[in-house]
Point group: none
Chain length 413, copies 2
């Protein structure tokens, strides 16, 4: 069954409000084997009618959001009735419950409010337990003279739509959808390998499996691989991906890298510290975004100025002078001294040139050294080169650092 | 001129990624008198071609985003060329710069990468300074046999699209759009005052001015006010807003709060340090995102564990025991000791309960103390209450801290 979505709302097209309905509805209907094949965003105007008429023959299920409120720009109800050739009739029971709702809240009755109790003849009312405008369900071909899909008309505010969807829309959908359509979806998050190399490792083999869908999404320092298909082909693809990418996969549960780090350290009852020059607190910030980070994170040193490296972590000023603040031995000293000072099991250190200025021919903008000191093994220092903008540089350096620690924790366990 | 937008990307329709392009593009083109009249989101499939063909006669300007990368699901370039009846030719200069880009970064060449240098004959290449896939501009009726609007094809990653839009798309649009449509737009960013209070202060007076459009956008710890209209009414509204909001306005140039802090400190030749418990490095991270931060930022102490507060900043363990780590005197001690240890002019400290656990009846989740120690004046400590999720709590606490420092710097100057 093909599904489509129409978001109505001039504010969406002006960029004043971000739509949250597509993502919500897509995730809710996926387990039923349903996907939104097309989403259209249209203003509160005649465009709603044209879009409805254009989409009626193109799908079996149509969701329409927004424009059900009491103000003059809320015209979705009228457009739906009109395009389906149905009369709108006031529902006395709805009108009564609207009056009660406002009375309880001490809100004055206004002229437009009664419109929210208008219902196209034959439509099923979907109660709105978080607001005043009810939703509507119009079954397929509700007017035999106008071929139409199943239409669900839903209120714009996410709190209202989401509750209504779970309680009233999903049960109707479950009865409509054949159970054989069910699809499985798997997600793999990979660090330390670029998008093209990930594709080289798995692309051909996965696409050789019949009826599987494969997608990639690249973010700074990580790649997401997604496969969709029937359960049996998903198992086949899963085996290929795990064999090819193995330990580079840091999550199959949509976790972020710092969550994985917090989880691994918590499991081992170990702690960490950070000594950050070029990442300027990003490592500490990302780790402390994770609930439960206080169990594993002790101390973060943001030794941005050279004298901070000496003051905080006792890095020999002569070492900085002779080898430079951005150098292998300074990264090493930062990590080792941070681990000792913080009395932690592990410490990550970064020192590099984020730019836009500060580069030199030997050490251009983008150069970064990442060091990992651990109680149980030798300090590792790696050099990376990320010539990009300042914030992406910091993100990439942080990803590289977390990935070094993750690989170490895997090797130790 | 009618404008439309096509977002390509199966991941959008699966709900795995939220679109940010509509809001961004809508705001960028608004001052030119342009609005997106329809947005369609389609999967990486033949649907792209159908949608292009359907929208060609319906608009004069068409934006298409996503699907320009190196992997097999990136097919937008081919769909554009095909629907316009144009041949794709490899651009040797682009291919060369792609090779160089990868070489500089030490990334291995993979088969699909070269596709990013394919250009439909006659199209103008829009450089991508934040990524590898270039954008494309195809002028209206580029193939005389296929009537078509002006088409802008843009990369999916927001960082890449946004830079490209500002530098290369807007200049082309400005030349296309008749100047009579031009509107003026002003932006005011306000910290420390809620959205409703901002509206109370200015709303009625601004809306009494004819032909002005007024918009608000609330983000954690700040409110953005936007006015749009012809030059003369904008001046009138500007005077009202400046009178009502005065020093609460931290930027009229779309700066972020940390940029303003870096600017103010640089002007005064002063430095700062941070001592962060509950914000966990966010203050340091935000400050060091600003180019030139190394001139003013010395040291960040992320004293997350209680013993880190004692080890790093010599906070009396008895004080922590008797008054609690989240308390006025501990915040004060952190700020004052951080300033002394870092030998900086100012120091900001935070200590609070980010949650989701760790609260108590006296100090519930959301409690936070922010302290500011300055060489030139007495230490200030303020208590705030931000009962929300962990990341928003950190953002709100950071905004409150930066705003305290900004107000201090204004008072001193």
């Amino acid at each position: 069954m093909r599904a489509a979505l129409i978001n109505t709302g001039t504010e969406l097209l002006l960029g004043n409000v971000q739509d949250a309905h597509l993502a919500f509805i897509a995730r809710e209907i996926f387990p039923l084997g349903l996907r939104i094949e097309e989403r259209r965003t249209v203003p509160d105007s005649e465009a709603i009618r044209h879009t409805l008429v254009e989409l009626f023959p193109r799908c079996e299920i149509l969701f329409v959001t927004g424009g059900l409120g009491p103000t003059s720009d809320d015209i979705t109800r009228e457009m739906i009735a009109d395009s389906l050739g149905l009369e709108l009739r006031q529902d006395p029971q709805l009108l009564n419950s609207l009056r009660q709702r406002l009375q309880i809240r001490g809100i004055k009755w206004a002229a437009g409010i009664a419109r929210q109790s208008d219902v196209p003849v034959g439509a099923q009312v979907l109660p709105n337990e978080n607001g005043s405008a009810p939703g509507l369900y119009l079954k397929a071909n509700i007017n035999p003279r106008v071929p139409s899909p199943h239409v669900f008309v839903l209120p714009g505010p996410p709190r209202e739509l989401q509750l209504m969807f779970g309680k009233f829309v999903l049960p109707i959908l479950r009865a409509l959808v054949p159970p054989s359509a069910l699809l499985d979806q798997r997600l793999y998050k990979i660090a330390g390998v670029g998008e093209s190399l990930v594709e080289e490792a798995i692309g051909e083999k996965i696409l050789a499996i019949p009826e599987i869908e494969l997608g990639y999404c690249a973010r700074p320092g990580e790649v997401e691989v997604r496969i969709i298909g029937k359960a049996e082909v998903i198992e086949q693809a899963d085996a290929i991906i795990r064999l090819a990418l193995g330990l580079s996969i840091f999550s199959t549960a949509d976790e972020i890298l710092e969550e994985v780090i917090v989880k691994l350290l918590t499991k081992r009852h170990q702690t960490m510290a950070t000594a950050e020059s070029c990442t300027g607190g990003l490592l500490a910030n990302r780790i402390t975004n994770v609930p439960g980070a206080s169990q594993i994170f002790v101390t973060g040193y943001v030794c941005y100025a050279n004298r901070a490296k000496t003051d905080m972590l006792d890095v020999d000023p002569k070492l900085i002078e002779t080898r430079g603040a951005v150098s292998e031995p300074v990264a090493r000293a930062l990590a080792e001294h941070a681990r000792t000072c913080a009395r932690s099991d592990h410490a990550l250190a970064t020192t590099g040139i984020a730019g836009p200025t500060g580069g030199s021919p030997e050490k251009p903008v983008g150069t970064v050294y990442v060091a990992l000191a651990s109680a149980e093994s030798e300090t590792i220092v790696r050099e990376f080169f990320f010539p990009t903008d300042r914030e992406t540089f910091k993100q990439l350096a942080a990803q590289a650092a977390f990935e070094m620690l993750r690989q170490k924790l895997l090797a130790l366990s």
